[in-house]
């Protein structure tokens, strides 16, 4: 590891808040995208199953 301890990794010589907030933004916004896409697919599948049940 480049840093001597977890504490120096967290603070990054005063730049920790900038760096960690950017990584958090990246992970959170992209996770929301995947989660929302999967949620929409589950909803569409549920509706398709209901149509299939009605037609059977």
């Amino acid at each position: 590891m480049y840093f001597e301890s977890l504490d120096t990794l967290w603070h990054m010589a005063g730049h920790g808040s900038y760096v960690w907030s950017c990584y958090a933004l990246f992970v959170v916004l992209l996770s929301i995208n995947v989660w929302h896409a999967k949620g929409q697919k589950t909803k569409a599948l549920r509706q398709a199953k209901a149509v299939a049940r009605r037609n059977s």
Binding site: M1, V19, C22, Y23, K41, L45
Partner: protein, 254 residues
Amino acid sequence: MTQSSWRMPRWFHQMGSPKWFYDFSGKMQPWFAVLALLLLSWGMAWGLAFAPADYQQGNSFRIMYVHVPAAILSQSIFIGMAVAGAIGIVWKMKVAFMVARSCISIGASFTLIALLTGAIWGKPTWGAYWVWDARLTSTLVLLFLYAGVMALNQAITERQIAGKATAILAIVGTINIPIIKYSVEWWNTLHQASSFSLTQKPSMPAEMYMPLLLTVLGSYCLFVLVVLIRTRTQIIETQSHASWLMQHKDVSGA
């Protein structure tokens, strides 16, 4: 040139079939999910904890490992959306319109990430979160273009017309992409030149460059994953009465 030499390959027309696309993307989806997770985790951990600090910017340069992939993807996705839309118009392919529609939200998200992480990076580097710099302004215009494409797509209920309108706006909007790319050369800007190029040797050492390569590749895999999921969703919505879908194991459970 004979007419037959212009004929598109078989796989191209196969992709236009909702059933074929649904089956094929179902097989591809887990691979892209695993690749995205592995590449992004590896690249981000390397960039955060193992890459050396920059001699000028110190540790704030680590923002590059999320900012640059987001900026690259924001532009690539917009081009991809325009290409898919153009294919939809030329070959009257419904699946292509669905792919274009699937690009909108993930493209807008990457643009928003690029703008926000750029603003945060700007504070320790330039002393300001925002400056009306050519690169920043043209990227903001890209976000507005995504918002316009999204609004247009949702305002028209008939999917085929919505697909065409979206495609035309996306194709016209691509004029902004070279403006973003060359803004740092055409105008005097605070923004630095590109950190990542396919044609030039990297200007930074391998231990700084490799994590960037991993996060860029991981972001592309994540983009493909989201587009596959969203396109499959649209296929389910539009084909819910088709017999092939009713008999498919995802719906019948068999």
